[in-house]
Symmetry: C2
């Protein structure tokens, strides 16, 4: 992972503050600024705090900067474990969520794909989540999401996370996992 700038970190923390999400000092120190090894952090990344990830459930608080995109991926079944199921709840801002099930037509969706890697986005069923709205993504289902023009703060409630096994559409993704 390339060095994340202080300015970038500040902008992420500002969104947690705007959403009135209170984090402990230790959580603030340990925000995961995940750039997925793509060297495109302003456009493709995900910023997150893992509140709890045990053998039974997981909860995270995620931030996307304005128009920032979390790259397309799915959560596969693992040996003796069903793939991760997750509920996204928008807390602040706006999030555009795209789920497998309809062909992605870049000219017909509400957002602009990250230009550098647009060939690695395929899921086209669009859901728009405003604060207080949520959507549950089934295991083994490709999905990606992009914040609206002000950014987004999203709670994730889920079965346990094993992020190191996530399958990304973009073969160049390298996920450094810190939450387990």
């Amino acid at each position: 992972m390339k060095k994340v700038t202080e300015d970038y970190k500040r902008r992420v923390k500002e969104l947690y503050e705007k959403a009135n999400i209170v984090l402990s000092d230790s959580e603030l120190e340990n925000i995961d600024f995940a750039d997925f090894g793509l060297d495109n952090i302003e456009k493709e990344a995900l910023n997150l705090v893992v509140y709890i990830n045990n053998e039974r459930y997981c909860a995270k608080e995620m931030v996307l900067l304005p128009n920032q995109t979390c790259p397309e991926h799915l959560h596969p079944d693992l040996e003796n474990k069903e793939g991760k199921q997750e509920t996204f709840r928008c807390r602040w801002g706006k999030v555009y969520l795209y789920v497998e099930g309809e062909e992605l037509k870049p000219d017909e969706i509400s957002v602009t794909l990250p230009q550098e890697n647009n060939q690695y986005y395929t899921a086209g069923k669009e859901f728009v989540l405003l604060p207080g709205e949520q959507y549950t993504i089934n295991p083994k289902t490709k999905h990606w999401f992009q914040a609206g023009p002000e950014g987004a703060v999203i709670s994730e409630f889920s079965s346990p996370s094993y992020d190191e096994y996530d399958i990304f559409t973009n073969p160049n993704v390298k996920r450094e996992v810190r939450d387990r």
Copy 2:
């Protein structure tokens, strides 16, 4: 359950607002004002919104009015299911959480027990949670909790909820369950 007054409902909703928790219209209409059949709602109750409760995980947003107490209970193992494990995260206000493991000495804890039913509180290990602080309660462990003088808003992340099987220390509790 006795009829809940409009004033009571208003005070609960005000705390969600103070904590900047955005709820959908449907969630606001369906807040569970649980009085546990004790006819003591100002002192013993729990107010909650269930965001998601599926076969794999559960998430709720709970409100306690100032000094209101959720009565002592535990989550037992069920046929083929381990008892519920839950993480409480304080979002706003202050919550005093008492967990089995130390004898309850009413004169030595930080809060006053609900006088009408004080004999039904036994767990005495005290944890004080401020915003951004959290605690995970193991299955089959008696616990109860009381808000501080301004009330509390608490996120609960957990394994699936089967509230109808909760075991309360007070035999007079009747839990009308609406979340499954």
